[in-house]
């Protein structure tokens, strides 16, 4: 990943629109009230989750739902961590890193080829990726289950990495192609004149230049992989291969009436992304909206 500052200057369309409206902002009362209302709609559930996760099970039934916990405790967190949370966290990290690395590797090669090779076959392949954006992942799940079982990969983390990466390929290729198209042709040609091979052009020119785009799209792909639910649900079974979103669902089944523990699990599962958000908000937001290009 790159530092946040590195992104803006390097991106060609990042020149912010001039701040023309600042001199005219007059207080707009209804809008202000409306935005505060929405703020409370967002914050109240989040606050409820946090205070609930800090209650003891007894006080959960007696405390006011929005009051501060009478006897704040981290017991629920301990319980969640003890029930194998570290394993699920590790699984999620492995699947996310694996899927993102695989996606970026194949998509960068493809995007480089699509920008530099003008043959009809390559152009058609690009159209294929564009079409691929419209495929709902759910529609392919039964045959994917069939293939994964036949390949002997059922209930492994690799079974999650492969289809997750496959469905991330189209959007990743498209975003990278749009970015690589902005690299002046002369740069490629001068490198070729200097005797650099394809591989050298790729590693010394394309890779360093496209780093901001790679970071953005990696975050987008990473969040999708991190939050993915259907592939883990269908393609894994044992607790050893469980990833976080699925673990949450399983927790709810096991702990039904222990609401503080379920909420602690929710907080713990969201914590890594929240930390990422606090550290690099701008980068994360850019990544989340990368799919907008669709």
């Amino acid at each position: 990943m790159v530092t946040t500052e590195a992104v803006r200057p390097a991106t060609p369309t990042a020149e912010a629109p001039p701040r023309r409206r600042r001199d005219r902002i007059r207080p707009n009362l209804p809008a202000g009230v409306g935005s505060l209302l929405w703020l409370s709609v967002v914050i109240v559930p989040v606050y409820w989750v946090v205070v609930t996760s800090l209650r003891t099970q007894q006080h959960f039934f007696t405390d006011h739902p929005l009051g501060l916990p009478t006897e704040p405790t981290l017991d629920s967190y301990r319980q969640v961590i003890d029930s194998g949370f570290d394993r699920y966290l590790l699984n999620s990290v492995v699947v996310t890193v694996g899927a993102v690395a695989l996606t970026i590797a194949v998509a960068l090669l493809a995007a480089y080829t699509i920008t530099r090779n003008t043959s009809r076959f390559v152009a058609r392949s690009f159209s294929l990726f564009l079409l691929g954006l419209a495929i709902p992942l759910q529609a392919a799940i039964v045959p994917i289950f069939y293939m994964i079982t036949k390949m002997g990969l059922y209930d492994t983390l690799l079974a999650l990495v492969l289809p997750t990466a496959a469905f991330a390929v189209p959007i990743t290729v498209i975003i990278l192609v749009n970015f690589l198209r902005d690299i002046p042709k002369e740069l490629f040609e001068s490198m070729r004149v200097d005797g650099a091979g394809e591989w050298q052009v790729l590693t010394r020119l394309v890779l360093p230049l496209s780093r901001p785009a790679i970071a953005t799209v990696a975050i987008y792909d990473g969040l999708n992989a991190w939050n993915g639910f259907l592939f883990p649900l269908v393609l894994t079974q044992s607790p050893e291969q469980r990833v976080l979103p699925l673990a949450l669902w399983a927790f709810q089944g096991e702990l039904t009436i222990n609401v503080p523990a379920v909420m602690a699990a929710v907080v713990l599962s969201a914590l890594p992304i929240f930390l990422l958000y606090v550290i690099g908000r701008r980068q994360l937001v850019a990544g989340l909206t990368a799919g907008f290009g669709k």
């Binding site: 992104v7 369309t13 990042a14 629109p17 701040r19 023309r20 902002i25 809008a31 409306g34 703020l39 967002v42 559930p45 006011h64 739902p65 090669l109 493809a110 080829t113 699509i114 530099r116 090779n117 003008t118 043959s119 009809r120 152009a123 294929l128 954006l133 419209a134 495929i135 709902p136 759910q138 529609a139 392919a140 799940i141 039964v142 045959p143 994917i144 069939y146 990466a165 496959a166 189209p170 749009n178 902005d182 490629f188 953005t216 639910f229 259907l230 649900l233 979103p245 699925l246 609401v259 909420m263 929710v266 599962s269 969201a270 992304i273 929240f274 937001v285 989340l288 907008f292 669709k294």
Partner: protein, 315 residues
């Protein structure tokens, strides 16, 4: 097209890929087409082939174990005559329209409000965003517990509307699902509208102000028309996205009570992996894919995505 996507140069898309093949095919290409192979194999193998596989499996009988057996058109007959199929299509349509109606005005207004820069607005935008950072299964768990009429937010003395069992009552559960989806995804669309509103040239507002147009008039005469492409994009994402709500509803209600929230993808999953009728599930999956592809292609064509750069023509 967008400012949030750092990669899209105005007019660059389309200028190269349009048809250079015919011109340069015979020349030696600087980069070998073989470099496309890994991406094509991965995407083809785990996305395109399975999509075709769904069509093939829809003509077979398969319980998830063993080998699929050829069955012919029986699954299709069963699926198309089953009233549950049509019911789930109807529910899916209701969710599609409902989420659009709830999310569009909300995110449009919020996005426009957040467009001017300033510390307070930036801070608020940062908080709004929290909902989008959670996984759908986490959001579902939160609201499943929060809406519990006895032990949720209502508590014994809470407001009356929260003591109603929103998720247990077949008449209200769909409304609850639509509102929860909105809670989860409004931040994304707000962000799109915020980016769109920042693109509107300030000179338009200055001119309108000189002409004496008030806030409301400026909103409807300048902001809305200028945002029309953002509206199209955001609506496309919402409508096509509503075909893919699975995790949230699966964890929240599992399609119930009864069939009240059985969306199309959920129906496919329950038919295939719970009732182990993989052939029938594949027929439903095929319907899902056809509807999804038709909807995206139709909306894209209708909106003329490719002409999007010209939205500020004449300025």
């Amino acid at each position: 097209m967008t400012t949030t996507l750092p990669a899209v140069p105005a007019g660059a898309a389309g200028t190269r890929g349009d048809g250079p093949g015919a011109r340069r095919r015979s020349e030696r290409q600087p980069v070998s087409a073989w470099l496309l192979a890994p991406a094509l194999i991965l995407f083809g193998g785990f996305a395109l082939v399975p999509l075709g596989g769904a069509v093939a499996l829809s003509f077979t009988s398969w319980n998830g174990l063993g080998t699929p057996a050829w069955l012919g058109l029986d699954n299709w007959g069963a699926v198309l005559t089953d009233h549950v199929t049509w019911l789930t299509l109807w529910i899916t349509l209701q969710v599609m329209v409902g989420t659009w109606l709830v999310q569009t005005p909300l995110s449009l207004l919020l996005g426009v409000y957040l467009a001017p820069r300033g510390r307070w607005r930036a801070w608020m935008a940062a908080v709004y965003f929290i909902a989008l950072l959670m996984s759908s299964s986490a959001v579902a768990l939160v609201f499943k517990n929060l809406l519990d009429p006895n032990f949720g937010l209502a508590g014994p003395a809470g407001p009356g509307f929260l003591r109603h069992s929103w998720l247990g009552d077949p008449n209200t559960v769909l409304i609850a699902v639509i509102l929860i989806i909105a809670w989860h995804f409004v931040p994304l669309h707000t962000l799109l509208y915020q980016a769109g509103a920042r693109q509107i040239p300030g000179s338009l507002y200055e001119a309108a102000q000189l002409d004496g147009a008030g806030t409301v008039r400026r909103f409807f005469s300048i902001t809305m028309p200028q945002l029309r492409y953002t509206i199209v994009t955001s609506s496309t994402l919402m409508l096509v996205g509503s075909l893919t709500y699975f995790d949230l509803v699966f964890v929240l209600t599992a399609g119930g009570p009864g069939y009240a929230t059985r969306l199309l993808p959920l129906h496919m999953y329950l038919t295939g992996f719970t009732a182990t009728e993989m052939g029938r599930a594949s027929a439903i999956a095929t319907i899902l894919a056809v509807v999804g592809l038709a909807l995206s292609l139709g909306l894209t064509r209708l909106s003329g995505f490719t002409r999007m750069q010209s939205q500020q023509e004449g300025l």
